[in-house]
Structures are given as structure tokens and as C-alpha cells.
Subunit: 110 residues, 2 copies
DNA sequence: ATGATTCACCTAGATTGTCTAGGTTTAATT
DNA sequence: AATTAAACCTAGACAATCTAGGTGAATCAT
């Protein structure tokens, strides 16, 4: 068998969304596209994961939506990072790297 | 706020267990200890996560238990990697590094 | 003009993995 | 003899993702 195609790592979706929004407001569909492209097609964010995540994050005050128009001329909800969102991004980035190091430590044991 | 203490990353527990068992059979309690120590106390495997995980992995044929005695003289269930378990370890290790690279790619976008 | 496709958003329910918070038994310690 | 620690176990709660649908409007092909 070839290695199974990996789904998204549970717990990293918020981090990814925060990170791409740090480059400026985007609408949901575009967020998913951006993550897909930036990860060289390795990561695919399903819409059924994306929209609930956006609501969670909005409820926590990390992002703020505003109705507008997408680059392709459709009605779209543009999400922008809030100040709390930027703090959360820093936070999650630091946790992520800590986790990667910790797991790396376990994996490199002889 | 200081960075929140990270719990285990969902989806990495199997990989960690397979990895420490690759060094030789261990019983459940010792597996958790070993992960804790190797990760420099960053990762803590709760027993409520550990034992269900061991059963799942046994059901999938990745590990095999045998009753024995722990180094501290108690009755203990020693788990050993099977051949399928070794394959699974290689598989998950490769997926893990692919994920880390992919997420890294997203995180380093400007 | 009409029909098909794509963009963009939305949601209910299933599934899965982890955690909380208990519990039991037996050996070692006090 | 009583307490603590090692080791195992489990039910139920919780959270995040995925499956598999659905809607409406703009664009494209014919």
C-alpha cells in the first residue's frame, strides 16, 4: 500500500486559518483555497470543517466578518483578524512548534 | 496570559505509542512514562486516552499483549509491536513529517 | 435566452479521539 | 495494619472533523 492520504491534523485548523488571515481579510472559500495551495496540495480543508471553525473563531472574537464581494464577483463574507486573533495566532504558533519539537524528541529516540 | 499548556495533538498518540514500542515491549503505564520523559515533560498521555488507544491498536493488529511482570514487580500487560505495527509506524512517521512540512509551508507564508 | 456549471455559503448528523472522573486489584511502604 | 503507589480498566462527556447533503446567484456554453 502507498501511504494513506493524510486528512487534516485535528487541532491545527484554527492555526492555519489565523495564519492565512494574517496576510489580510479573505472569505471562507478563499481561505480553504489558500491553505490548499500554500501547502502544495497536501492539506485540504473540507467546507464542513471550515464553516463551523469560522463560527467558533468568530464567537471567540478572533475574527470578524463583513459582507462584501469576492474577486470573482460573488457575494462573500470577508473575515478579518481582530487584535485578539493576532494574540491567538502568536499563541497557537508557539504551541505548535513546542508540540513539533516534543514529538520530534520522542521520534528520534533509539 | 502565558501560553496555554498544550494537551496531546489529536491523531499523534498512535504514532507515539508505536514509536516507543519500537524499542522493545513495554506495558501501558511504562509507555506513558516513556513518552512523558522523552518529550521532556511536554507530552502527557492520560490513562483514559492510553488504554482505549492500546485496544484500538491491538484490534488493528499493530501490537500484541502478553501478561507478565513489570520492572517494579507488578502484574503488567506487555505490548509488543507486530510486523503490521512496524509497517504502520513507518507509514505514520511519513505522514507526520509530510504534515509538519505542509503546515510549515502555510506558516511561513508572508 | 436557456441550461449547466461554478462560486460561495450553510448545516445536520455521524464518527472519532481524547479527557474527566471515577473504579479495582495487588505489591510495597510506613 | 493501614496507606500509598503501580497498573489496569471503563462509562460518559466533549470537541473537532467529515460526509453528504442543501441553497442561491453569477458566469459560461450553446
Amino acid at each position: 500500500m502507498p501511504p494513506k492520504k493524510p486528512e487534516l491534523l485535528s487541532g491545527t485548523l484554527d492555526l492555519l486559518i489565523l495564519r492565512v488571515l494574517n496576510g489580510g481579510p479573505l472569505h471562507g472559500f478563499a481561505i480553504a483555497e489558500r491553505i490548499h495551495v500554500l501547502s502544495r496540495e497536501v492539506l485540504t480543508v473540507e467546507e464542513g470543517s471550515l464553516y463551523p471553525a469560522l463560527y467558533r473563531m468568530e464567537a471567540k472574537g478572533w475574527i470578524e466578518p463583513e459582507w462584501g464581494i469576492s474577486p470573482r464577483g460573488r457575494r462573500a463574507k470577508l473575515y478579518a483578524l481582530t487584535k485578539d486573533g493576532r494574540k491567538q495566532l502568536a499563541n497557537e504558533q508557539q504551541i505548535w512548534s513546542q508540540m513539533v519539537f516534543a514529538i520530534g524528541d520522542v521520534l528520534k529516540n533509539t
